[in-house]
């Protein structure tokens, strides 16, 4: 058989030749026969004009516009097409100095003599009018339409985010972007960049010596249409957001409200904030620097997602739930309070309230002694766990499942996870396994090393409202017409605590509002469940915390309020939450005295 198939070499050589000849013909056709490809540099030039799509709009949950676009123009230049020109006139048209014009030209040439780059960006409509008439004198220059973001209301800056010009790193990593393109830098603009940006098109234009565009090269064979970005419906309630920002004026802190059943975020207030319109336009970089340098107010810092506070007494429900689930207490189990919890020379104080308390009244009166004792029952449960470490790890697992010390992978960038100390942490602090329930007793009342973000606190309120689960908080409800939201934003995440155990907790929170620590926050016609908290602040006055949800029968809103340096949670945080709840459910506020009281309060210098 050896030589039988050697004739097949001809088939293979023939195949090589056919492809070779085909390619040569193709080359001959496009290079020699079809002269429409020819671009002589003397007669005319090609210009790639990028067609920028309009970026997707952002609406709130009721269809109110939050972000839109407005037209602007960039003056572009292709350096090697520039001929001798009246530099003086160009400078005066653009309101630049001669040196600036030369410098801009030099920089464009350094980027590329053949490709276009931005000469002057975002020129106003009026300037554009002037320049357009004179453009024939300036071969190599042309105007390209762009769009800028605008915000009808100066709110929700952190959530909406902003866009900025791509930097070198992005140019390297993401080939879609070219010099001068915009990309979402934070907020929704960043997390939904791919949907919002649409797709750029390009027109390959022929340009004659008088800098006149002669239409598309080869009848538009290489032109592509720009595809507009997709509109996004945010879950934010614009009115509620605006109302929250008004209440938080002259206060440091944040409000996060979530619809418990869906995990949709209704508002995220981080105060102090800034007008998102500052991040647009020609003064953008100077505005940005100003905001960045404001080290007292830190307006760019998104407290709602990135500030961590000890949860204080709002954390007591978590300990009660763990104890109930672990079976170390019954709802009826009572502990006495001697104005606090005393053990040896350890003392955790408490305030005046009826004693002893069960689960319900301990939440209602926020009894510290009760929770110190409950916490010890959990950690010192030697029937189930052979040592402190094992019991602690189990406790920590519950806490993480309840949404503390973890990130939710929300659709907002830069979310922090807070802190639930690990056993290893206590090993380092006290020595390996040389710590007991008493050494970490501050966890019983949410103080010490615990760190939670306002988002986590609101989510905790949502898990209580849902009796044992949450849906990952997210700020976008729908993308375009399709229901194409990531599935993880509709899945339920369970806390591992049975629904039954939430009943008495909720009753305690309801009592706290009607006749307990949060009595200042009662709302007319709406039953709410709430819990105050005070976060110890080693640097100054304590922070006021409050978490709540309402209506109790069918929760529509879960909320957390943090007011920094405002002392006890019941005074400032609880009423703000109540106003927000009332506003969200009734779309108006009846409690005008309190509204004015809060509106006019300035706690910035506390």
């Amino acid at each position: 058989m050896k030589k039988v198939y050697s004739a097949r070499q001809n088939v293979i050589i023939l195949m090589f030749l056919i492809v070779g000849i085909l390619y040569v013909f193709r080359l001959f056709y496009i290079q020699v026969i079809d002269d429409s490809w020819e671009i002589s540099s003397r007669k005319n030039a090609l210009r790639n004009k990028v067609q920028y799509p309009s970026r997707g709009l952002v609406y709130d949950r009721f269809g109110e516009l939050l972000v839109y676009n407005e037209a602007t123009y960039d003056l572009m230049v292709i350096p090697n097409q520039v001929v001798e020109m009246d530099t003086m006139e160009l400078a005066s048209l653009l309101d630049l100095t001669l040196d600036e014009v030369r410098e801009k030209l030099r920089r464009a040439r350094a980027y590329s003599p053949f490709a276009s780059s931005i000469f002057e960006k975002q020129i106003s409509k009026e300037t554009y009018g002037f320049i357009e008439e004179k453009l024939y004198k300036y071969p190599g220059f042309f105007v390209q339409a762009r769009t800028l973001r605008y915000y009808p209301k100066p709110i929700a800056a952190h959530t909406l985010g902003y866009i900025g010009e791509v930097n070198d790193r992005i140019l390297q990593e993401k080939p879609y972007y070219r010099m001068g393109d915009y990309i979402g830098v934070s907020g929704i603009e960043k997390s939904y960049e791919n949907q919002l940006r649409g797709r750029k098109g390009v027109r390959v234009m022929m340009v004659d010596v008088h800098n006149r565009e002669q239409g598309s090269f080869r009848e538009g064979e290489f032109d592509t249409v720009a595809i507009p970005g997709i509109n996004i419906w945010s879950s934010i309630d614009m009115k509620l957001q605006e109302y929250g920002e008004m209440l938080m004026k002259n206060k440091k802190g944040s409000i996060v409200a979530i619809e418990p059943k869906t995990g949709e975020v209704l508002c995220i207030v981080s105060s102090p904030s800034y007008d998102p319109n500052l991040m647009v336009g020609r003064n953008r970089s100077s505005n940005y620097l100003k905001l960045l340098r404001d080290s007292i107010n830190k307006p760019l810092f998104n407290r709602a997602l990135m500030a961590t506070y000890p949860p204080g007494s709002t954390f007591k429900m978590a300990n009660a739930l763990i104890a109930l689930q672990e079976g170390v207490i019954e709802p009826t189990t009572k502990f006495t309070c001697d104005h606090g919890f005393v053990f040896g020379n350890l003392r955790v104080g408490c305030h005046n309230h009826p004693s002893p308390t069960d689960v319900i009244s301990s939440v209602q009166y926020s009894c510290n002694a009760y929770y110190c004792k409950v916490f010890r029952q959990i950690i010192d449960n030697r029937k189930k766990y052979k040592n402190t470490r094992e019991a602690y790890n189990k406790w920590r697992e519950y806490v993480l499942n309840m949404g503390f010390g973890v990130t939710y992978d929300t659709d907002l960038p830069y979310e922090l996870r807070g802190n639930v100390p690990t056993a290893e942490y206590y090993d380092r602090y006290h020595g390996k396994n040389r710590w007991k329930s008493l050494s970490i007793i501050s966890l019983a009342i949410g103080q010490g090393e615990m760190g939670t973000t306002p988002l986590q606190l609101a989510n905790f309120a949502a898990t209580i409202a849902n009796k044992g689960y949450y849906v990952r908080p997210h700020v976008v409800k729908a993308i375009g017409c399709r229901d194409s939201l990531n599935r993880k934003y509709s899945e339920k995440v369970y806390t591992g605590i049975d629904a039954i155990h939430y009943e008495s907790i909720i009753q305690g929170m309801v009592n706290a509002v009607t006749a307990g620590t949060a009595a200042r926050s009662k709302i007319k016609n709406i039953t709410s469940a709430g819990k105050t908290g005070t976060a110890q602040n080693p640097h100054g006055k304590d922070h006021a915390l409050y978490i709540a949800f309402a209506p109790v029968e069918d929760p529509k809103i879960a909320i957390s309020v943090v007011v920094e340096n405002a002392g006890f949670g019941g005074v400032w945080a609880a009423p703000i939450a109540s106003l927000m709840i009332e506003y969200y459910i009734n779309r108006s506020v009846d409690w005008v005295d309190m509204e004015n009281n809060i509106k006019n309060a300035n706690l910035m210098n506390n």
Partner: protein, 422 residues
């Protein structure tokens, strides 16, 4: 001939034609890499900050590698084939776990600029492995068992490379079917394979209904006009039914089973979804660049379309644009002729081998080179989908230059040794 061997010259029996073509191509590549990134204020062609300078270094290294390959006893390649095959297979597997990702494909091993792309070398060892297995004197490629084992040898590395998302490199392995064809695999397998590939592509480009209608019309047409098919109605219906269901299956899998990212990769591959930079940018720009070259070209370093940012990957995958723009039809034609000479020379030399190993290896590398050349140039001419594989000896890049050099010089060495049956 035998006297020359007696003289013990290091280069005795070397095929200087192949060596000359090799040097010409490498030189063409080098000066065009320089032109592709040239600026009026440009530094020297040897500047190590430029691709041309680095390529010069790679060329020197490649020449060293070539020399070493010539010096080593040819028996080493045949004897240790399985070792080499094993090493590259482990390396490409390793890439999946610890590789670095470059533009979507995870095919690089190593740090920073010193990365290597093991898949380039896997092509060589696959050709060697095929030669080793199918070239054993008692193996007959007409036998199904031999065909199946050969397929496995080819498709194991191809599959691993496919898992790296380097679809282009994986597709190159299909070409080994031609090698088996030469060695006696029935032609029908080749034609069935080609038919299925064509139907696959057509289904994705259009829809399965169009393809099924086309198949039916074609069947009817053949039944009507070609007499010898008249009798086999049942067979024809069966075949067209099978092809139709294949088309339907492809569509079904594409629409319902593939993940969006896999889909978009295929869409980019076949060009229904244009490349990632948006809107067929690469291909259009490259056609404009080549088209504007004219008959004589714009002249060395005079191109405007292929420089800077207009055509991306200018000195790597789209290097042929620079040749087309600056050297015109004449230059491009000569490069294609050079490549054809290279390929035909390899085939002719393969046929004069007494060892089946050398012949199969020769066919193997001719196939690999041909696929690279045809796909790369076809892509710049808009005749092929955008598949990022380099143009042998011309594209910028150390791994590919060294790998293609090794590939060729192993063959040259085997050919030098053609008097002895290895």
């Amino acid at each position: 001939m035998s006297q020359r061997i007696g003289r013990q010259s290091m280069f005795a029996n070397i095929d200087w034609i192949l060596v000359a073509i090799y040097f010409l191509l490498v030189f063409v590549g080098w000066i065009n890499i320089y032109a592709a990134t040239y600026t009026p204020t440009s530094e020297s062609i040897f500047d190590l900050d430029r691709n041309s300078g680095r390529q010069f270094l790679w060329i020197l290294i490649s020449m060293g590698v070539a020399l070493i390959i010539i010096l080593i006893d040819a028996k080493v390649y045949t004897t240790f084939t399985w070792v080499f095959y094993g090493i590259t297979t482990v390396l490409i597997l390793l890439v999946i776990f610890v590789g670095t990702e470059v533009s979507g494909a995870k095919s690089w091993l190593g740090v920073g600029d010193l990365g290597i792309q093991p898949s380039e070398f896997a092509k060589i060892t696959a050709a060697m492995a095929l030669a080793k297995y199918a070239g054993e004197s008692n193996r007959n490629v007409e036998q199904l068992r031999v065909q199946i084992i050969s397929f496995i040898l080819i498709f194991v590395p191809a599959l691993i490379i496919l898992m790296q998302n380097d679809t282009g490199s994986a597709l190159v392995f299909v070409v080994f079917l031609f090698v088996l064809y030469r060695e006696g695999m029935p032609g029908t397998i080749l034609w069935i394979g080609l038919t299925l590939i064509v139907i696959f592509l057509l289904t994705l480009l259009f829809s399965h209904w169009h393809v099924i209608i086309a198949i039916s019309v074609l069947t009817l047409f053949m039944w009507f006009f070609i007499r010898r098919y008249r009798k086999d109605v049942l067979k024809m219906v069966l075949i067209s039914f099978m092809l139709s269901s294949f088309s339907f299956g492809v569509d079904y899998i594409f629409d319902n089973i593939l993940q969006p990212h896999q889909k978009s990769r295929i869409e980019v591959l076949i060009g229904t979804e244009t490349d990632l930079r948006g809107a067929g940018y690469n291909v259009n720009q490259s056609k404009i660049a080549i088209g504007s070259g004219g008959f004589f070209g714009k002249g060395f370093l005079k191109g405007t379309q292929t420089k800077y940012k207009f055509v991306p990957e200018q000195s790597t995958d789209f290097i042929f644009c620079t040749i087309g723009e600056e050297w015109g039809f004449l230059g491009s034609f000569l490069v294609i002729v050079l490549f054809l000479l290279l390929l035909i020379r390899i085939i002719l030399l393969s046929e004069r081998q007494r060892s089946r190993y050398s012949r199969i290896y020769g066919y193997g590398i001719a196939g690999v080179l041909f696929t690279h050349i045809a796909v790369n140039i076809g892509m710049t001419l808009g005749l092929m989908p955008v598949i990022g594989i380099p143009l042998p000896y011309i594209s910028y890049g150390g791994s590919s230059l060294i790998a293609f050099t090794m590939m060729l010089f192993i063959f040259i060495k085997l050919d030098m040794n053609r008097q002895n049956i290895v």
